[in-house]
């Protein structure tokens, strides 16, 4: 497998800036996630790494070799698309074998490689079926197996599991991560599901309008976001952002002078049933957790509580928070280092 480095990539389509000075370093055997809203530049990055698009400026390096002028085929990077692109007239087995047959690889090598990969993916019982007779998850496995047998230097995956049922997505993301670890693969993965992104990645790059806002391990980005933008992109329900001057929440510690907003994640709010100045305006019981929507004057906050605590709509409560769990942001929305 290989390391991949992007240096100062810029790309315009007419007047539209698709990528603005993007630099990313993906280590060998890392699962690296590109995360951001639609049209923030994630898919353009994949096309540039594949060699399907040429950047206006900047360079792509694979294992420290510049890829300028290197054709997509010579780069040997495999792509798994959202719509899978399986051949409907072929069986699962023929689909998996296809890239090797195309390259005129010896039959015994093909058989050995296909056998190893399909065993690993627990899919030998479906190999004789055409895609039309497979479930969504099974088709996904065929597409991944077809990418794996090629033995490329890296895999690029563009939202590969978004079309699956919710339950199947939860299982498949873990499966993808296991395969990547067991087989020591470098994967660059695009998704717009924050839970999926945090679940699978070693490192994430968070995009906004063609720029990288922050890169890091998912839990570092979650615990220490560098901006309100990153703070709001991760976590469901989203972090509560409050005006530093006018919030009903007692920070319990000095608020830095430049702080314009405070941020508190819903799981860090403590709700006390003591007839305080905050009202419960909605209750969403979800079994494992209960989400309360809370109103104090014009301010709205959400709290995520463990289990199924009893609250009534309209009930008066007060809020507290562990001071260490408060984030402070300046007028640009950038995180202030605590005083």
């Amino acid at each position: 497998m290989a390391s991949i480095r992007l240096e100062n990539i810029c790309k315009h389509y007419g007047d539209v800036v698709a990528l603005d000075d993007v630099s990313i370093e993906v280590e060998d055997n890392a699962f690296f996630c590109l995360f951001g809203p639609p049209l923030s530049g994630k898919s353009t990055i994949l096309k540039i790494i594949l060699g399907l698009e040429t950047p206006d400026s900047g360079s792509v390096f694979i294992d420290d070799r510049p890829m300028n002028g290197v054709s997509p085929a010579q780069r040997n990077v495999a792509m798994v698309f959202q719509n899978l692109a399986l051949f409907p007239h072929m069986t699962a087995l023929q689909n998996v074998r296809f890239p090797l047959v195309e390259r005129k690889i010896a039959e015994d090598v093909i058989a050995a490689r296909v056998d190893a990969v399909t065993k690993k993916l627990h899919m030998q019982h479906i190999l004789h079926k055409p895609p039309s007779q497979l479930s969504g998850g099974e088709r996904q496995r065929v597409a991944i197996a077809r990418a794996l047998v090629r033995d490329p230097v890296a895999y690029l995956m563009d939202d590969p599991i978004s079309a699956l049922d919710a339950r199947l997505r939860e299982e498949t993301r873990v499966e993808l991560r296991r395969i990547q670890r067991e087989m020591n693969q470098t994967v660059i993965y695009v998704t717009h599901d924050q839970e999926e992104a945090m679940s699978v990645s070693d490192q994430m790059a968070i995009f906004e309008h063609g720029r990288v806002r922050q890169v890091g391990a998912p839990h570092d980005l979650y615990d220490a976001p560098a901006s309100t933008y990153v703070a709001e992109m991760l976590g469901a329900p989203a972090i509560n952002l409050m005006a530093a001057g006018g919030t009903a929440l007692n920070a319990g510690r000095p608020v830095p002078q430049q702080a314009v907003q405070l941020g508190v994640r819903p799981e860090h709010l403590r709700v006390l049933k003591d007839g305080g100045n905050t009202q419960v305006s909605a209750i969403e019981p979800m079994g494992a957790t209960t989400i309360l929507t809370l109103k104090a004057g014009a301010e709205t906050m959400k709290a995520a509580l463990h289990g199924q605590p009893e609250f009534q709509v309209g009930e008066s409560v007060s809020l507290s928070v562990d001071p260490a769990q408060i984030h402070f942001f300046d007028k640009n929305g950038d995180t202030l280092v605590a005083v």
């Binding site: 049922d165 939860e170 945090m198 976590g235 329900p237 799981e267 079994g287 989400i291 289990g307």
Partner: protein
């Protein structure tokens, strides 16, 4: 507003039974989710309520009147599909006004209702834009608005959020719930996503293989699933189910879980106690009920760790045993290869019959 009653409803396509013996009454102004995996019969049920598919058995009544011979256009039903059907050559405003115009609503009233709906769904800034250039998210929001604006007595939504992106889905969940509260329509919502059902519905009807398995409020279904399928389908992740054997101890009956250990003495309900327990049982517990406990009587190896924001999912087991634990990130987290020793509060244990999959004794 309208009550919907389905009685012995069934649908066969040739020899294939898409739905059998469906009995469900959806109250006036109630939000009911039909929840299940693909092929469970939920969309067939909805299509029969709408009038797009005729049942092969049973009856559908709106407010005690059978509507089987009422054509689709006269049932007073609003419908939103997974694939929004928007007139792309029209503006957002024209799309919203379309149904009202067809009903002959006066221009001033039309304007008022279109503006109010646009406000509610945050479409006001783009009212005069052509639909053709709008994002998938906005188009789906527009599709919902266009159906809702005519204030149908019954609103049917078939996986309306499955094509929109994850972040937008959570915004739309609150908006749909608010919309339904405001108009207090009778709303039937088809989904495969238990989170959507749990967060929006007054009651959930869980379906599988053409059968209705359980109906109840989200918490009733979460806390007391009537069978193993419902137990596993509800929750994220779903309930853990391990095979066990009933054993006796000084403190009462417990479940022997072989290599996983033994449960604490069971807290049996009167009904379960009087009904007696089979020798073999399925031992159910929710991932968030796993208590890491150095003195716990159960233990499983950790084979994968998934940290997702505030919580961590531990994947436990091996050798055909599979379970998950959801832990708070505040505690020290075990690593892959560690053995997690844990306990489960006996009140949180659910037992199921290994043959039928049915819950033993109802609430335990």
């Amino acid at each position: 507003m309208t009550q919907i009653a389905l009685s012995n409803l069934g649908k066969k396509f040739g020899s294939f039974t898409a739905l059998a013996q469906m009995n469900l009454t959806i109250g006036d102004g109630e939000f009911v989710a039909l929840l299940g995996p693909s092929g469970c019969g939920k969309s067939t049920t909805m299509n029969m309520i709408a009038g797009m598919v005729d049942p092969t058995e049973g009856d559908i009544r709106f407010d005690d009147r059978s509507i089987l011979d009422v054509p689709m256009s006269r049932r007073g039903v609003g419908f939103v599909f997974q694939n929004y059907a928007i007139f792309t050559h029209m503006s957002v405003r024209e799309n919203l006004a379309y149904g009202l115009r067809a009903q002959g609503v006066s221009a001033s009233e039309r304007n008022r209702r279109v503006n109010a709906m646009a406000d509610l769904l945050q479409l006001s800034p783009m009212l005069d834009r052509r639909a053709a250039g709008l994002s998938v998210n906005i188009l789906q929001r527009l599709a919902i608005g266009r159906s809702a604006v005519v204030e149908p007595a019954i609103f049917l939504l078939d996986e309306p959020l499955s094509n929109v992106d994850a972040a937008f889905r959570s915004v739309m969940r609150s908006e749909l719930k608010a919309l339904q509260r405001q108009f207090s329509q009778t709303l039937v919502y088809v989904t495969h996503d238990q989170l959507e059902a749990m967060t929006m519905a007054d009651r959930i009807a869980v379906m599988d293989h053409g059968k209705l398995l359980q109906v109840g409020t989200p918490l009733e279904i979460y806390n007391n699933p009537q069978d193993v399928f419902v137990a596993r389908f509800i929750g994220s992740p779903g309930m853990n189910i391990l095979e066990g054997t009933i054993a006796s101890s000084d403190e009462g009956k417990l479940v022997d879980l072989a290599s996983t250990g033994r449960s604490a003495p069971l807290a049996l309900s009167d009904r379960a106690a009087s009904q007696g327990l089979p020798e073999k049982v399925l031992f159910g517990f929710r991932p968030e009920q796993v208590n890491p406990d150095p003195n716990g009587t159960m233990a499983l190896p950790v084979n994968f760790v998934e940290r997702i924001g505030a919580r961590t999912i531990l994947h436990l087991g091996g050798d055909g045993i599979e379970a998950k634990a959801v832990l708070d990130n505040q505690i020290a987290m075990p690593s892959i290869g560690d053995i997690l020793r844990f306990s489960i509060d006996p009140k949180m244990v659910r037992l199921f019959d290994p043959v039928s999959g049915i819950a033993i004794g109802g609430d335990i």
